[in-house]
Amino acid sequence: MDIHVVGPEASAEERDAVDRLLGPPASGWDGGVRDSVRDGRASRGGRPAAAALRHLLLPAFHVVQDRVGWVSRGALNYICQRLVVPPAEAWGVLTFYHLFATEPRARTVAHVCDDIACRTQGGEALCRALEAAIGPPGELSALAGGAWQRSPCLGQCDRAPAVMVVAAGDPLVRTVVAPVSQAAEIVAAMAAPAARGVRESLAELRDGVPQAGQPGLKLLRRVGVVDPTSLDAYRASGGYQALGRAIEVGPAGIIAEVTTAALLGRGGAAFPTATKWAAVAAEPALPHYVVCNADESEPGTFKDRVLMTGDPFAIVEAMTICGIATGSERGFLYVRGEYPDAEQRVAQAVTQARAAGLLGANVAGSGHRFDLEVRRGAGAYICGEETALFNSLEGKRGEPRSKPPFPSHVGVFGQPTVVNNVETLANVLDILVEGGAAWARTGTATSTGTRLFCVSGQVTTPGLYELPFGCTLGELLTLAGGVAGARPLQAILLGGAAGMFVGPESLDLRLTFEDARAASLTLGSGVVMVFDDTADLPDVLGRIAAFFEEESCGQCVPCRVGTVRQRELLDQVRAAGGTMTPERLHLLSELGQAMRDASICGLGQTASSAIESAVQRLHVFRTEARS
């Protein structure tokens, strides 16, 4: 409120993009053409309107950038008028997200991943080749018809190195090229992005899921086998049986089955899913919401992408069941902005499900109301943190909130909210069809069911693997064909940038929540990134440190300052030829301790864990005796 719009005005193209999202403006007061008779006598809006519209801020930024490639001051002004948001506040939101450009730039931009998995596959060399071919990052290349820039992990680690090409316009074209072997492929994709046609075909999906089609798979049963664009194919392969069962047993029955199954969250925190559901179901405050956290941004993680592109109806069905169980009538699936294919697949599935009466006012004739909306993130790792994700959905900067209150009590829009990871939700289908007790017979007593592992790096057959809890790290590595080229194993990164490095001595580790915990490790989001003896681990650590520095939201001091100091320290050590003095070692562990103890959210709390584990377990740097 207190909107002081000054300066530039939106172009016709920008206005059109916003109007297509919001409908035409109702009066001169919300950005339309001023009619001095009508607008001189009354206006409507105020805080109720502002509160009701605010959540559309990110979608509005997206439609403008999708159309013209960046968000101008004029477009910002128009969006602020339409949504009743003060421009200064909207600017704070706009500049929070890496994918939004606030200065003019080329309509076509190639986002080239230089993150840890792509580094092991020549990502850096690709960047150098691209620079030689079309110039430095950010510069418009006539040859390519666009510009390129570096990007953090694009979640295509099984196909590294990866590039995402975004060509603004009407229609917008977003395409992923992975793996890329030469710069010329990127240049061609930039010059003619639409020419790349359908992505994530069954064949392509099978490439990413080496076990595809094998018996015994649960979560990956349909991926690469069943047409992900067809509701009929989904139903023919057992889809929507779980929903039928859910309607039969009702909310309490669903929660009872999930409780019996002892399903633990797969997003990283391993929290009991049924506990969340029961808490939300019991909340008297209405409405309740379901949020599916598909902001899969942990470097090295790509499991949710595969599920969404390969079996999108399963996510829609699982969210519907969750809605019924928790008394929620509305759901949001928040998918990261770097997943164009997954977003499009899920959106398509939602449309089909709605048309078939499987979403809407009367889900499958059950009398339950549930519908869901797909929302796109805009390049912010922190939005994978559930409360930051809520803020982002609400049209705010994606800064985490203090907990308590917990989401089940005060979640998105201040209402009771159940928030689950994609993989977690996908498990619910088999739990209902098989029954919780039968389902829980897979895995171990405390780690029930199967787990998806994102295997990448210097491994013979990277991809997404599904194994019952309890197999060992070595067995998983063997299943993936071992270290590429049969070279000696140097290290494995478990759980992503927020996880930990282990050495070859850990191959006997049983992959369960309890074994990981006992070894002071974490399975995190299921990342298993393999480094052979040639890998430059100091370089990888430098990239991880830079990642956290870039992704810290800056809200709390320990993380904002700590991630910078940590990166500086690693720079110093590397500049000193990899020599870690006792003073630096001490400082590194103190930084880690401060961030663990005092950060608001998991980002700061885990920003040092991979680096410290590499230093302490693997002795990546030479330590120098105190002189």
Partner: protein, 535 residues
Amino acid sequence: MGGGTSSYREIEETDCILLWGSNARETHPIFFHHLLKGVKRGARLFTIDPRRTSSAQWADVWAGLDVGTDIALAHSMAREIIVSGLAHREFIAHATTDFDDYQASVLPWTLERGEIATGVPAGVIREMAHAFATAPRAMICWTLGITEHHNAVDNVLALINLALLTGHVGRWGSGINPLRGQNNVQGGGDMGALPDRLPGFQHVENDEVRATFDRVWGVRVPPQKGLHLTGMFDAMEHGTLKALYVIGENPAQSEADQQRSVALLRSLDVLVVQDVMHTATVDLADVALPAAAGAFESDGTFTSSERRVQRVRRAKAPPGECRDDLAIIFDMARHMGVEWGAPDAERVWNELRAVSPVHAGMSYARLAAEGGLQWPCYDESHPGEAFLHGRLWERPVGGPRAPFSVVAHELPVEALDDEYPLRLTTGRRLAEYNTGVQTAGYASPVRRGETIDVSPEDAARLGLHEGQAVRVRSRRGAVVAPVHIDHALRPGLAFMTLHFPDEVATNHLTIDASDPKSGTAEFKAAAICLEAVEG
């Protein structure tokens, strides 16, 4: 009693707010924070103002009426409430009088007639009427948009009628509240700085009341009411008022038709001005008495718009020859032959408690211990009252019943014509206070000086651009000011402030037509034209 009926807390907990003739966002920013808490809690906010002010940005609905048509709008809402069966019949029968006359006076005001008279669409009037009448709790708050008119008192009565009609008075969260312009305007009135009242709002023409004062003060209080400000200027003009003692006012710049007021001030035999600042009125004074600042250089009390009396303490000594107001007045008395002893704020306060029943229970000790008290507070065990007129809901009614008042819609005194086709209304901005005596000395990042604000349509029609200097002419005078194009204005409406009298003497333009009941001048409605300035 002259005071807002409600506490600030109540506006945070009400369900519907009519902010009428008030840009509280800029002119009462602290009060507006209380109001916004209510809005955030879910209260519906309606702003009624010719301009779409920054307050209106926060409103569910803004109704842009023509200047001076408030009574027409109130009547039209009242009729809609009555014919829709939304009047609070039980309250009306129990606690009010004269409803039938009132009903007869508003029944001709159909929504259509209301729209024609005010310019506000009938649907908007209807929506406001229904929202106000059906809200469990509702408040009307107003400022100078209601009172700076030649029929100010009638405007206020029309709003009070709406509150009586719906039973929105005398209950927690329901009330009628004029917002005060200074921290202690309420206190000034409470202390009897009104022409017809003694301290505690007691009528000077009531013999019983005067007898109490005569006894406590040991002198005979004159039995007639005095003059209000506008009356004083008329008396100067007639030669019957020859000496003036001004305390903390700047009438040389704050009064309508400034050229006339300055000439009259110059014509006085003696003008004594007592002020914290060197004002334009000080320049005209025969004797100037530099005073200490009330906020921190003297002891005493302030009384806020919610009738809360709070202690204020001297934090530093005044500079130079400045002296405490009390000390100056005590000396003045001594020179007139009366010895009051040492000036002491608490002693003066305790004397007030002896003569003003509503303040009787407020000892300095209690004011300090309880963080201020809201009058009425009749004795030391009385907690003070959060809202007034709760008696109207007692069975039987405590005291007299509240009368409806029949008031008629009247347009501003100065009509528009071909020569002066634009309606000038005046007001205030966030960074400034009145004639700038207390604010001009401080830097402000949002200060942009005086401008003549016009609608984009008028600017286009007259070929004016932002910043261009124009001559603004009324029947009384002309000033030159730069143009500011403001979308908050509709065609035909112009706006100025009176914050920068030394650069742009807006009050050369305003009309001194005033309300005979309150003495307030019609600052809100003058007729002007704009002329190009050569060069």
